[in-house]
Every structure is written in C-alpha cells, then in structure tokens.
Amino acid sequence: MNAFIEKKATYKALVVGVSAGGLKALCSILPKLPVGFPVSVIVVQHRKHMAGDYLIEYLAKRCQLAVQLALPSQPITPGSIYIAPTGYHLLVERNATFSLSIDARVNYSIPAIDVLFESAAICYQHQLIGLILTGANHDGSLGLKTVKKYHGLTLVQSPDSAEYPEMPDAAIAATQVDHILPLSQIASFLTRLLMGDDHG
C-alpha cells in the first residue's frame, strides 16, 4: 500500500459542483478542511447574477482556509478555496490559471459545473478530484465523466444524504464513480485521502 500513500500527494485540485441546497452542503464540508490542505478547491455553486455576492463572505467567516472569488489570470494555489463568480463561466487554463467567459448557458446554468470540470480535467488530468453535491438538475454529470476519462478521482454525495438528489443521481448514472459518500463523511474522506490517517 505504500505506493498509494505516495500517490496521494499527486492530486493538485478538487473541483466541486453544487446547486440547490448548496449552502448547507458546502458548510458541512469546507469549514472542516484544515490549514495545510494540500490542494486547491474550486467551487461552482449555481446562483443568480447580482451585485453583492455574499457567498464568499459567508464561507470565509466559517472556513479555516482562505476563501476567495476566482478571477481571471489568477494563479491557482494549494490550500485556497476559490468560488466561481456569478454570471460567468469559470474555466481552468492549461497553465493552471483561471479564465472567465459569458458564453451560452450550459444546462441552463452560468456558471456551469460541466464547463469548470471539463477544463479542469484537461489541465490537471489524473491529479484532479471531482465532487458532485446536491442539486435539482443534471449539470456536472458530463463534467465528472470527463474527470474520469482523464483518470481523475470521481466523488459524489450519496443521493439519500442530499437535499436535492437529482444532480448526484445524474452523475452516478453517467459515470462509474469511484466513491459515493454521505455528506457527513466527505470532509474526513478528503482530509484522510490527501493528508493521511492522522487527519480527518
């Protein structure tokens, strides 16, 4: 098993897609990620485009890791949580910086989870973890499939622990996902996977 313990250090980013019921789900995961968490966390939470975006502030107050808006040309650093701004698609460039676009909605959504996941999969390939949480649509299932295609690790919140199971259900139907986890165990799963058994 030593070989696999070696392997854990190779993940570089965790992409998270979440829609309806997201605030609660995010709050039961992100605040538990400890300082020193070795990967970048990039989140698309579906929400309306408006001037004041309180999600960042709300999460920043509760998280140990720095929470910030994902902005163009920004280098993506480990141990930070990046939230996709409203009204734009968020993409990861091959050189691991962010870019934004206002292209057509995907799955009726902008930002769309698929757009983030597919671009991140191209950038990070097997060093990416994709995680789909609660939501009342199908966004993210193609994206998670792409994560899998390029040998990333695929995680889905178990539908019965999801406030809105449709999005996890769709992701599970589209891909042979690696792990289906109850909401309450996701944070500890991630910290153990990435930081070893004495965490999480």
């Binding site: 098993m1 070989a3 696999f4 392997k7 001037a51 902005l71 163009p72 040309s73 701004p85 009204g87 734009y88 698609h89 993409l91 990861v92 460039e93 091959r94 870019s99 934004l100 676009s101 206002i102 292209d103 057509a104 909605r105 902008i110 757009v115 597919e118 671009s119 191209i122 950038c123 390939q125 097997h126 899998k148 295609k149 390029y150 040998h151 690790l153 690696d178 792990h179 799963f189 153990r192 996977l193």
Partner: protein
C-alpha cells in the same frame, strides 16, 4: 479506512505520468495550434491570442457537431471551405449579453459620467464588442433621459456580422424584456423601459429615435485601427476572452481613441491592473470598472 483506487489510476501509477491520455491531450493541443495557424494564414483572424480553454471547448464542440473525427479533419475543412470557417467564427462569438447588465455601472455613468459628457457639444461613444446590441440600446436610453442623445453618436462594433445583423434590427424576444426592465429601474431609469419600444406579437423593437443615433459596424479588435475620437468607450466582457498581448493591443487602441479625460468602462471582472497602458488611466469608479484617461499625456 483504506481507499480503493480504480484501474486507470493504477495503470497511471505503474506507467508514470506519460499515460496514453496525456499524449492524447498534448496531441489535441498541438492540433488546435495548427488549426489556429491555418485560420490566421488563410483568413487573417488571429485566435492564437485568445484565452485557450473556452476556445478549446468550442473547437471540440464543433468537431462533434459537424461529425468530424478530429481537430485535424476540422483543420482541413477550415482551410478549404470558407463556409465552414464562417460557421466556426459564429461559434466563437455566440456569447450572451443583456440590457443594463450590472445596473450599478449604468447608474454610475448616469450620475457621474454624464455631467462630464455634458461639457462637449458633440459626444462620441464607442461600444467595442457590442454583440447583439442590447448594451448600445441601453446607453441610448440612458442618454435620452439625460437629454444628451441628440448630440451623441454611438458607434457599436463587433467582429461578428451575424450579431451585428440582429443588433441593427433592434428587435428582441419579448420574453427577455422583464429582467431588462428591472435592470433599467435599478440603473436609475426615469420612466419605464416600455416607453422606448413597440411590441409586435412576440418581439419588441426599439424606437428609431434611438436607432438613429447608433451606427453598427464591423470592427475587429485583433487587427483594425482607431476610427474616431471618443469621449466614452465601453468594452465590457470582451477582454476576458483575450490573452495579455491582445489585451494590451486593445487597451492601446482605446487610449489612442479617447480624448484627454475621456472615459473607459470595462466589465465587472476586468481591470487595467496588469495592463502596460494602465498608467495612462486613473480609476474613476473602482467597483464599476470605470477608468478615466489622464490629461498629462
């Protein structure tokens, strides 16, 4: 608790990072580079300076939609079929826009920029990357209410002729209007947006009194030059598609086109912070991304 790893990860572990898919993605990148070279060589459009991830997405989508087997096959078609290139050009600029997007920006223009515009006897405004025109009509409405429209000329440009056709017509699906009307009010609108258009069945058309002050024209920010002196330039959500080199070219154009103390408005997530021409401008509205050209130049 021990975690299982899937077979493909095991494969990658045993074979190092030069797995098969890695090569596949490198190959795809190489093929896209070739495609962009072909487009530049054949049609003079330099997409090599575009942000790559969204471009790559569109290329891959086009390959699938047209039933092609690879980017290389698409490259062949682009080289020999101008019609097919046009299709791709359309893909590249299928973007979304709305009226009074980010109402607080228009409010600031109304409350603080217009007083400066009032000092000019003729006002030139340039909307660069106007897409289907919603933003140009928004500013026309605003100028009308500030009693500035009659001395204003709005140049609304884009490199996508298809979008420009829609913009020139100035008619939009009626079901889009409700959020626009809401934005209009949040932007400080003084009456009701419906005062500015007629309804015919499922579409609305803006009054020709607005249209008369807007010139829609093709202008390609990759290669075309400055065409008039401007008092206000709005280029919102276009720079996000460009790499640094192209952003510098474009902001350089704007700098040359603006009168002293002229205004430049960028999109909500764009800034001049890392632009070589940034020092020619001062911040006028930080949140609104409104810049003003300095006079000592």
């Amino acid at each position: 608790m021990k975690y299982k790893f899937n077979v493909s990860q095991l494969y990658l572990f045993l074979n190092g990072t030069q797995g098969r898919t890695m090569n596949q993605l490198d190959l795809q990148n190489f093929e896209i580079n070739q495609l962009l070279e072909s487009i530049y060589f054949r049609y003079g459009y330099d997409f090599r300076n575009y942000a790559r991830a969204s471009l790559e997405r569109k290329v891959i989508k086009r390959v699938a939609l047209s039933g092609l087997s690879s980017v290389t096959e698409m490259n062949q078609k682009v080289l020999y079929e101008p019609e097919f290139f046009n299709l791709f050009l359309k893909d590249m600029s299928v973007t979304v826009t709305e009226m009074f997007r980010d109402p607080y920006v228009f409010k600031k223009i109304r409350q603080q920029v217009c007083s400066h515009l009032k000092t000019y006897s003729r006002i030139n405004i340039w909307h660069a990357g106007c897409a289907t025109g919603e933003e140009a009509y928004s500013i026309a409405v605003l100028l009308a209410e500030e009693d500035l429209l009659k001395r204003s000329r709005i140049y609304a440009t884009d490199y996508n002729n298809h979008s420009l056709e829609i913009a020139k017509k100035g008619s939009y699906a009626i079901d889009k209007i409700a959020p626009y009307a809401q934005n209009y009010l949040e932007a400080g609108g003084q009456t009701c947006l419906s005062d500015y258009y007629q309804v015919h069945q499922q579409t609305i058309s803006f009054h020709s009194s607005l249209q008369d002050h807007i010139t829609f024209a093709n202008h390609n920010l990759m290669k075309d030059q400055v065409f008039a002196q401007m008092h206000l330039i709005m280029c919102r959500n276009v720079l996000i598609y460009f790499n640094n080199a192209l952003q510098e070219r474009v902001v350089g154009l704007f700098k040359d086109s603006l009168v002293h103390r002229g205004f430049l408005v960028l999109g909500e997530k764009e800034s001049l912070e890392f632009n070589a021409h940034g020092k020619a401008f001062e911040e006028f509205g930080k949140n609104e991304r409104i810049y003003r050209k300095k006079s000592d130049l």
